[in-house]
């Protein structure tokens, strides 16, 4: 089945926040933000701005009737700064005017004086100065210090991976309307409707039931709208609370780039020990996460870094520690992979460093250490239904790895000005929110009396096609055609207390709830049909819009059963709640079974380097991916390709730059580049790994949102391979992204 939004997307008819019909008396909001990264606000003069014709009012923290607090995990972030600012772009006030243009003019008239304080932009400096978000965390398995003594090879090194801008096509935005009796309706481009509702209630000082949050769809989220869609909606809600008029606020691209957090940059220090048989015996890492000025989701992201620090390898002795370092950057936040990619980059770097020092191929070490059944992860979970070796072997065979390696090596012997590079990138990614209490979802299904069906869940559609998958689940169980099923908007009054659409888990959690609700409805309808046909309940199934007896179609239609159910006063609405079984995690011991299952796969990346100019092209990425039993291969392959492109961008050209004053330099699309169709990869092949699938996944179809992003890490090491083929003097560096600049400097390093 095609993505159910494809028709309206293609025609430009799909509705986003900016397409909302707004009330005639609607006003327009605009945030005034800090022009310095750290300091004390000594004076703000709003008088000229407020006097501008068309400016309705300027709101500050003084107008907040509840709490000036939006921190989710740790309450450390005000909605609007009070007397100090901690990052460049921190919201200070909110201008509401009769037009966006007037609000913009007014913003330029605000005068602010800031007594500047020392600015920290790097995690390393924060660590030196003891500036942290919370206490560090460590995962331990075995004993690394004893192990290193018995290793034949021990290597140490340092890595850096930079941040990444989400660059959702639709910028952050909301439209907020007053309803009667002080109730408020928020339409927001958010991955977390409940988070918006809860935070708005807290800041406005009113109960949650007074606030309704509705989400039609997002023009991309990638994690950037998990926590950071909230402040804009809350600002507009504060204005609505005071003015009793609707307020719309869409951020323009520059404001969005400047004020929102990104993927966390990480500086990391590793130590890896191997024995002669190439087995990795010990691995230690200290991760310094650049969290930015407030916690946001950083502690949870730091945790996932530890969960994925050993990628798809079994290492018997592991010690990993992560520090969430407080700096004066915008609070960094969720981004597809959620700290996992940053963890995996370090182990892959450590293996590359070891291979380079030992004079062997990186893939040889990788292959020798792949996870097998019943291996233990550093956090105590025992790996089961492991597909690491099978994915590796399948990729090796299907894509003829040995021939590819030889081709690269022959090419490099025969060519001087251009060189080729190759790398293999296996992945193992855990599926579930690592915070166990978040693994739940609900679905509300109405069968209308004409037989058509409305499905509401907590899932937010953001281009990942989760609504299509929800529709497939419902349609399949109810046995009716797709055009009888409609996916409703995600709305807190229909499905409450939801977890954000994140962690690759949205389809699993919400799909399981849809499955349960539909099964419950079917049970009631079987009874109705059984009476009508005088047949056993067990013999009845619903398929092709009709009732089947023992697998044979009867003349009794779906619609007729529903009509009869109405007459018999049978409930045609069902609400179901799903909570992932089995999973648990004890943070005091840092041990448990946090993941429902893991997703595996292997990617082979080949690149060609122009050693004259320092530019490169990604020739091919050949992937074997563990979809389980994919319920929609077209959509799932699309997710793999998109994630891969995003991963390649993170590893190659996407370069976030702040100056030492904490000002974002890559503050426009002219200076921040994401891969286009030419630079992603010339050829991408995705072969599904044949497996049984996992019963914890919806229809045994494994989660696909985040895992394939990490195939992009392979591009870094393929480029590195080619650089080394040209310049034997090059000392390996692990400093992503591998931009054309770093490539050229490495090619001609003496």
């Amino acid at each position: 089945m095609k993505n159910i939004d494809s028709y309206t997307h293609l025609r430009g008819e799909s509705l986003f926040v900016d397409d909302m019909m707004i009330r005639q008396d609607a006003l327009f909001g605009l945030c005034f933000d800090s022009p310095k990264a750290h300091g004390k606000i000594t004076k703000v003069d709003y008088s000229k701005a407020a006097a501008l014709e068309g400016v309705e009012r300027i709101f500050t923290y003084k107008d907040i009737l509840g709490e000036n607090q939006i921190g989710g995990i740790i309450p450390d972030e005000p909605l609007w700064a009070e007397d100090e600012v901690h990052f460049w772009g921190q919201p200070i006030a909110f201008i509401v005017a009769t037009s966006e243009a007037i609000a913009k003019k007014a913003r330029a008239l605000i005068e602010i004086e800031i007594e500047e304080l020392h600015v920290i932009t790097t995690a390393k400096e924060a660590k030196e100065k003891g500036s942290f978000i919370n206490a560090p965390r460590s995962f331990n398995l075995g004993n690394t210090s004893d192990t290193f003594k018995n290793c034949d090879y021990v290597f140490e090194g340092e890595t850096f991976s930079n941040g990444q801008e989400h660059l959702y096509l639709e910028t952050q935005g909301c439209y907020v309307e007053p309803k009667e009796n002080g109730n408020i309706k928020i339409t927001s481009s958010t991955q977390g409707p409940t988070q918006v509702q809860k935070t708005a209630a807290k800041v406005l000082g009113i109960p949650m039931h007074r606030i309704e949050v509705d989400v039609i769809r997002l023009g991309g989220g990638f994690g950037g709208k998990e926590d950071q869609a909230t402040p804009w909606a809350v600002m507009a809600a504060v204005a609505v609370q005071h003015l009793n008029k609707p307020v719309k606020y869409m951020l323009n691209r520059h404001d969005d780039l400047r004020m929102t957090g990104k993927r966390h940059p990480y500086s990391s220090f590793f130590k890896i020990g191997l024995t002669k048989d190439l087995k990795i015996q010990g691995f230690e890492v200290e991760f310094l996460q650049n969290s930015g000025a407030a916690a946001d989701l950083s502690p949870a992201i730091a945790e996932r870094t530890l969960f994925h620090a050993t990628n798809s390898y079994f290492i018997p002795n592991v010690k990993t520690t992560v520090y969430s370092c407080k700096t004066n950057l915008p609070p960094n936040t969720a981004f597809r992979g959620f700290g996992g990619p940053q963890g995996m980059f370090v182990i892959e770097s450590a293996i590359a460093a070891a291979a380079d020092n030992m004079g062997i191929d990186k893939a040889t070490i990788q292959e020798a250490n792949l996870l097998v059944e019943n291996d233990e992860f550093s956090y105590g979970q025992i790996a089961t239904e492991v597909q690491a070796t099978k994915a590796w072997e399948t990729a090796k065979e299907k894509f003829n790895l040995e021939a590819l390696q030889k081709e690269v090596s022959d090419y490099n012997t025969q060519n001087y000005q251009t060189k080729k590079g190759i790398s293999v990138m296996p992945i193992a990614f855990g599926i579930s929110f690592t915070n166990t209490p978040m693994n739940h979802a609900r679905a509300l299904i109405h069968i209308y009396q004409d037989g058509s069906v409305g499905v509401s869940t907590g899932a937010v559609e953001m281009g990942q096609s989760v609504n299509t998958k929800m529709l497939q689940v419902a349609q399949d169980i109810l046995g009716i055609s797709a055009d009888l099923v409609k996916l409703e908007s995600t709305n807190t009054t229909r499905v409450a207390n939801t977890s954000p659409s994140a962690a690759s888990s949205t389809a699993d959690l919400n799909g399981k709830a849809v499955e349960m609700a539909c099964n419950n409805l079917i049970k009631r309808l079987q009874k109705v049909a059984s009476t009508l046909l005088s047949k056993n309940i067990e013999s009845i199934t619903f398929q092709e819009g009709a009732v089947f007896i023992d697998g044979y179609k009867t003349a009794l239609t779906w619609e007729a059963v529903i009509a009869q159910a109405m007459l018999e006063r049978v409930a045609l609405t069902e609400n179901a709640h799903y909570a992932t079984p089995i999973i648990h995690f004890d943070k005091t011991k840092e041990k448990g079974h946090p993941f429902a299952y893991h997703v595996y796969g292997t990617a082979i990346t080949t690149i060609t380097l122009d050693c004259l100019r320092g530019t490169y092209e990604i020739d091919a990425v050949d992937i074997v991916h563990d979809f389980g039993k994919s319920m929609n291969l077209g959509i799932d392959i699309g997710q793999v390709e998109g994630a891969l492109a995003q991963g390649i961008g993170w590893m190659t050209m996407e370069e976030i730059a702040y100056d030492t004053d904490g000002r974002l330099l890559s503050n426009a699309l002219s200076t921040y580049k994401v891969p286009d169709v030419f630079s992603a990869a010339k050829k991408v092949a995705v072969v599904p790994l044949e497996t049984e699938g996992n019963p914890m996944a919806i229809k045994k179809s494994k989660a696909v949102g985040e895992p394939p992003l990490m195939y992009g890490i392979g591009s870094y090491f393929a480029i590195q391979h080619a650089v080394k083929a040209f310049n034997k003097n090059h000392k390996l560096q692990f400093n992503a992204p591998f931009t054309p600049e770093k490539v050229l400097m490495s090619l001609y390093e003496k």
Partner: protein
């Protein structure tokens, strides 16, 4: 911008068009990059024209963006500025009283974002001598992303040979100075020299003395210097592949 009373030049068709007269090609300031790319005669003169111009912005922008616009935007890294500096072009300027003046394009850009154009003047056209059969032209550009990106360093140059002696040379490099840099000293040095590896290396040393890149979001100073060297070599490797390769040119 909504508050500014603007006078749009794009509707002025008199400034649009490509003409060939005797030994000169003249291109109106309102001519778009796409018009240049699609011009048959220019394609014949520069067989790699399309390849060069595909590196300039995007198709949509090439359809809209004009030469005059690129020149007065005055970016030190402007692709079309470098392209025409490398062609040894001259620029004609016209004022509101229809007085015209013509100057070497290399004299147009004065300092960072400053150029020789009075408030009552606009650029009328740019002209370059039509290359003869022993003239060779090349354009190079390196950016973080190949397409729709601003160059870290770009470079263009035309060189004329009589047997193996350089009779004329016009190289220019962008992103290495406050203005799109016409490499006057390098060019002067090349004229009259034999086209050899030693000449190219000596010229490259002069090139380095002429440029003054700064570190910014497009790259560090050291990178831009190295890239200026590489792209200078790339011209010769691209134009005379049997004579020059990275092996013999770049490993010095």
């Amino acid at each position: 911008m909504a508050d500014v009373n603007m006078h749009l030049l794009s509707s002025n068709t008199a400034l649009n068009g490509i003409t060939f007269k005797e030994k000169t090609c003249t291109i109106g300031a309102n001519t778009t990059v796409t018009q240049i790319a699609e011009n048959r005669k220019l394609q014949t003169l520069f067989p790699k024209l399309n390849q060069f111009l595909k590196l300039v912005s995007s198709e949509q922008i090439r359809n809209m963006g004009t030469l005059g616009g690129n020149f007065v935007n005055a970016s030190p890294i402007g692709d079309m500025s470098i392209f025409f500096l490398g062609l040894n072009a001259s620029i004609t300027i016209i004022d509101t009283d229809k007085n015209e003046r013509t100057l070497a394009f290399s004299a147009f850009h004065l300092d960072y974002k400053k150029y020789d154009l009075a408030a009552n003047e606009i650029i009328k056209n740019i002209a370059f001598p039509i290359p003869s059969s022993n003239t060779f032209f090349n354009f190079e550009k390196v950016s973080k992303r190949t397409h729709l990106d601003i160059a870290s360093v770009n470079s263009a140059g035309r060189i004329a040979l009589q047997d193996s002696t350089i009779t004329d040379a016009h190289f220019a490099t962008g992103g290495v100075a406050a203005v799109p840099k016409y490499l006057a000293k390098t060019n002067a040095f090349l004229i009259g020299k034999e086209l050899t590896i030693a000449t190219i290396h000596a010229a490259e040393a002069i090139l380095q003395s002429e440029i003054s890149p700064i570190s910014d979001v497009r790259g560090t100073k050291a990178y831009k210097r190295l890239l200026a060297k590489q792209l200078f070599f790339a011209h010769f490797i691209s134009l005379f592949p049997t004579q020059f390769q990275l092996q013999n040119l770049g490993t010095s």
